[in-house]
């Protein structure tokens, strides 16, 4: 399997405080990779730095090319997409305009087909295509943010906490769509606090604690790891109170 994204010995700092220390990771083609970890472990910081929003020390290569000198917009044009935690939608514009702008770097002729694909993945968005993005529900906004990123035809989509604050039924929907993306040839780098759901659909997984990766391997192995189970999956030992 060819490597799509490779991060080597990455450090990200806010001033003197290092939020991410010596992190290396790889995402292959057609692969779902997840980074799980507690709040404040540095997951969002790492994704932002890979996208070029925060400065990163170390090496990041995408599709064999070093990203060091490239701006966010160039990374988008290369096929790297990020759906940030706060979604960053154009709230005063309607759903269709949001999607259309997602294809800003794509040829006009292809954008139409892209939009049909996104509507097929998220029929809800099609129903609400003339509605302002700011008036959508949380789940619909998440779908729109993912849809907008997909309009740019990314090879790798990075999702930051897509399930945060959403109803369980919508979370299930979003995770189902993530697996559909893999089937359609889009790799996914998924950052989640909901480790159980993330590990279920991922191929590879990394566990992040206090800015460092403490464990990595096949998602199924990580899910079976006792320490992970105790810390992140919320499994209870026998005899302990469930509440």
């Amino acid at each position: 399997m060819s490597t799509l994204l490779s991060v080597t010995d990455a450090h990200v700092a806010y001033g003197k405080v290092e939020a991410v220390r010596s992190v290396s990771l790889e995402v292959g083609a057609n692969e779902i990779v997840t980074i799980v970890g507690a709040n404040g472990a540095g997951k969002t910081t790492l994704l932002s730095a890979i996208m070029g929003i925060l400065p990163l020390k170390g090496r990041v290569a995408f599709a064999g090319q070093d990203l060091a000198r490239l701006d966010i917009e160039d990374r988008v044009a290369m096929g790297l997409g990020l759906v940030p935690e706060h979604r960053e939608l154009f709230v005063t514009m309607n759903v269709e305009d949001n999607l259309e702008l997602g294809a800003f770097r794509i040829e006009r002729s292809k954008a139409k087909a892209s939009m049909e694909r996104v509507y097929a993945l998220f029929p809800r968005l099609k129903e609400r295509r003339k509605q302002l993005a700011g008036t959508l529900s949380g789940g619909e906004q998440q779908m729109l943010a993912m849809g907008r990123a997909l309009m740019g035809e990314p090879k790798l989509l990075m999702l930051d906490e897509p399930s945060l604050g959403l109803a369980p039924i919508i979370v299930a929907d979003i995770f189902r769509i993530v697996t559909e993306l893999r089937a359609a040839g889009v790799s996914v780098l998924l950052v989640e606090q909901n480790a159980q759901a993330a590990l279920k659909i991922a191929d590879q997984a990394y566990v992040m604690e206090l800015g460092e990766f403490v464990l990595s391997g096949k998602a199924s192995d990580i899910a079976a790891n006792e320490r992970v189970a105790a810390s992140y999956l919320g499994f209870q030992h026998e005899g302990e109170s469930v509440i």
Binding site: R69, L82, E88, F90, M93, L101
Partner: protein, 346 residues
């Protein structure tokens, strides 16, 4: 007061208000997209007006040379920023846009100026020259500061305003100038007399507002500009360059400024420093619109124009004071509506 005077003052106010509306819209646009409060908007007005008047009088305007000088500066900035990853295509593209283009316009201006070109040619040349100045100013003064706070951008904006005003004195002298009317002739309707020029002002203002509305509502680049204004990070993640949006915003602002100048210079004598006050009235309208609302800004601009017309009739010594006092109740209301003012985190 009789009705004729009142109608006359309202008409006068609407003519001026239309100009303030254009300027106010440009200010809102530039602020929304780049967070720059464009104090030099008034200089775009005077540069446009006086370049047009100079050309029509058969004189060579210094602004054409300024455009080339700024273009060379912008080219140098491009080279410096890309110094570690220079490649041929980038250099050639930047050279053509920043040096070759203004050089051609300068050559054209030099050859045409002496022969007193027709009005249409004068307008076109003035617009192109001021548009280039606006674009290169963005590259030199504002693009390198794009990530800084609103206050830093405001200070840069004041600096650019002072520099342009000084250069204006150098180029055009301290004497006032008037330009030829775009459309001559006049007709009367009842007690009111409409000159060709005031009709042109209305027509162009309405046409520009409709064009802007179509641009923002229907075209991809217009939507990209709105997107940048709504959410800068979101726009970047969609692949929209903030520098591109900034360039379009400055281009539009400088063209609107120059056009306003060309529209008023046949009606009023303009001096090298007249633009500041005119721009400031557009600014009053923009503030009433909260620096975000286009329709509110346009309506406020008409109110500013009409208030100005009436106060210059009744208390001409205080006309500026009265116009700027319009701001106080608006600011008071706004501060009551939003008591906590936070510096935007960006």
């Amino acid at each position: 007061m009789n009705t004729t005077i009142m109608l006359f003052l309202v008409q006068d106010g609407i003519t001026n208000g239309a100009i303030y509306a254009l300027l106010g819209l440009a200010l809102v646009l530039v602020f929304a997209v780049t967070r720059v409060i464009l104090i030099p908007q008034g200089e775009f007005v005077t540069y446009g007006a006086l370049t047009y008047a100079s050309l029509a009088a058969g004189q060579m305007p210094g602004t054409a040379k300024l455009a080339l000088a700024l273009g060379i500066g912008a080219f140098a900035f491009d080279l410096f920023v890309a110094r570690k990853a220079l490649h041929g295509r980038l250099v050639v593209r930047s050279f053509i846009a920043n040096v070759v283009l203004p050089a051609i316009v300068l050559a054209l201006t030099l050859s045409l100026a002496a022969q007193k070109p027709p009005v249409a040619v004068c307008i076109a040349l003035s617009l192109v020259i001021v548009a280039m100045i606006g674009l290169y100013l963005y590259r030199i003064a504002f693009q390198p500061l794009a990530h800084t706070s609103v206050l830093v951008l405001l200070i840069a904006s004041v600096g650019v305003h002072l520099a342009l005003q000084g250069l204006g004195l150098l180029f055009f002298g301290a004497e006032g100038q008037r330009g030829p009317a775009v459309l001559s002739g006049a007709f009367t309707a009842g007690a009111l007399r409409f000159t060709g020029q005031s009709i042109t002002v209305y027509a162009i203002t309405i046409a520009f507002i409709v064009a802007l509305w179509l641009f923002f509502g229907l075209t991809l680049y217009g939507k990209a500009l709105r997107a940048t204004a709504v959410n800068r990070l979101g726009a970047r993640l969609a692949g929209i360059r903030t520098t591109l949006s900034g360039q379009i915003a400055f281009l539009l602002a400088s063209v609107i400024g120059a056009l306003s100048g060309i529209l008023i210079v046949p009606i009023t004598t303009l001096y090298y420093d007249s633009g500041f006050l005119i721009g400031l009235k557009g600014f009053v309208a923009a503030i009433i619109g909260g620096l975000v609302s286009y329709p509110l800004t346009a309506v406020a601009a008409l109110v500013v124009g009409i208030v100005e017309a009436f106060s210059s009739f009744y208390a001409s010594n205080y006309k500026e004071v009265i116009v700027f006092m319009l701001l106080i109740p608006v600011l008071l209301l706004r501060s009551l509506a939003a008591p906590a003012v936070e510096e935007e985190k960006d």
